[in-house]
Subunit: 321 residues, 2 copies
């Protein structure tokens, strides 16, 4: 097992960590967003130029395995192009390029088969079985899907408010809560601010926690939004499990800011899954995605980490990773 | 009753018609889109500069009443500003500025109380009672509402396709129908084409008829989309009727391209309304919106059209208005 660097490039931040042969995290760097669709080849080169040299300076003069796990890199052709670019840039060790979700999955189950459901700004379900088949559901983006994401819950809540204002929907405490959250004095401001871009994708996604709070207080409309989001994500989990031949027994981790904000969505999700899968084991993620990327870097060489190495990686939690 | 010009400024076309004192349409002009939010004050002046002089040349040298009914002009302050602008431009007769939906409502019921539900690219419900109260529901735009619009049905259908592809939703003939409609060889193209803007708002809205066709063939997923759209619009109709004190008896006209494409949405709508309103009278629109604007121009002077005048206006249908 070589030294390895894992890189987890998300929408707003990129984390990079270097791990020695025994599984000890020797250094961590945090940089700007690493979504390849947004920053492109030049942006990625700049980002790696900032993140990697200080980490490499910590390594012994061995070859280092690298795994770049980046948002916006779902297709194999892109992954190969990025790997070739890094090799042209003078990288001498092995290079593996994956999606950030793949690294999150690897980290969540410490390399074992299982599923993740992520719900942050967007949402998706990803799973892998013991024959190394990968299956995805969701992740179609804000217009075409993203059920259960912060954006989905925020938008559903705004729609519920408009129906309430029209008199065609039930009364809901969301009206007051979202007006406060958005700083609106009058709901007449909603249409110009949404279509004028002042209330943009990010601000709608940030309404997710407020929706959860209102649901926590027992508001029926907000509860329905959370329940339907949980049911939609559950449908994706069950579909992925079936396609992977794991319809009876599933290890699942729930990741992302919407779950962290409160357990209501998780409860709704688990309830809906339990109707269709007998043996559902909900597990907190073993390792963060950046260390999932380290596992993927090692895996490229055919090695599997030992229990001792995993135990040392897990201690990195204490270092705030 | 004076000569009057009605102008119906929609998203893609603007129609203008001049009507003499007896109710005979003496001339019609068609120009570019008249959505005030898009074309602004300068664009509107250009548009009126093209449309009005040829019509005024047909009028006897009397004062002519004008009603501009424009998309994107919902607020009274805007309406006053536009009227003042036209008067500064040298218009000597009366000027009234309204939303295009207001003119559609006036035309649909020939000035009598009633409701309209429009479903084209967008959707909304508008009604007026015999005390001249106006109430609206829906019309919140593509992100916040527009249930039952072509865009809504197209987007719901695309979401149903993604769920079917994921295995988390039922099989549906929409997969083949929409791929053909969008010219997609592979659904992997969907995400880049939607978020890259190639499949834009207009192209999604244009999927409405295809969804209706698939529903007509008995596809359960497409039928559910149409039924839920009808139920959502029905909720708006009932809410408007209640707020207008017409909860027992309603005159309703269904307008817009989605209704014209087939009667399935209308059937779903009527079925859902009938559960809540006893005396529902579905009526085809008496007059097009541009002649609704003529009625509004006349109404500004406090006059009501006679039966003879209305009968002559109605004959304009034969002239393709």
């Amino acid at each position: 097992m070589e030294w390895a660097i894992g890189v987890d490039g998300g929408g707003t931040h990129t984390r990079a960590a270097i791990v020695d042969t025994t599984g000890v995290v020797r250094g961590v760097r945090i940089g700007d967003g690493g979504n390849f669709q947004r920053i492109g080849a030049t942006g990625l080169q700049d980002l790696l130029g900032q993140l990697l040299p200080p980490l490499l300076a910590l390594a012994e003069p061995n070859a280092v395995s690298l795994c770049l796990a980046l948002a916006g890199v779902g297709r194999e052709t892109e992954q190969r192009q990025i790997a070739a670019m890094v090799e042209r840039g003078g990288w001498t060790g092995t290079v593996r390029v994956e999606s950030d979700a793949r690294a999150a999955l690897e980290g969540a189950h410490a390399g074992a088969p299982g599923l993740i459901v992520t719900a942050g700004t967007g949402s998706m379900v990803l799973g892998r079985n013991d024959r190394d088949n990968m299956v995805r559901a969701g992740g179609w983006g804000p217009l075409l899907g993203d059920e259960g994401s912060g954006y989905y819950m925020g938008l559903q809540a705004l729609r519920a408010v408009t129906r309430c204002l029209d008199g065609s929907g039930a009364d809901t405490a969301l009206v007051a809560a979202l007006a406060a959250e958005l700083g609106l004095e009058d709901w007449d401001q909603l249409v110009p601010e949404v279509y004028g871009g002042k209330i943009d994708h990010g601000r709608i996604a940030a309404l997710g926690p407020a929706v959860s709070n209102v649901a926590d207080c027992g508001d029926a409309v907000a509860l329905h939004i959370v329940d339907s989001a949980g049911a939609a994500l559950a449908g994706q989990v069950v579909a992925v499990a079936q396609r992977l031949g794991m319809a009876e027994s599933v290890n699942l981790s729930c990741l992302g800011g919407v779950f962290a904000e409160g357990s209501l969505l998780e409860t709704a999700l688990m309830k809906a899954i339990a109707l269709q899968i007998n043996d559902l084991r909900l597990r907190p993620a073993h390792l963060p995605a950046v260390l999932g990327a380290v596992l993927l870097a090692w895996g490229r060489d055919g090695d599997l980490p030992s229990e001792e190495q995993l135990a040392r990686l897990r201690k990195s939690r204490l270092q705030g990773l």
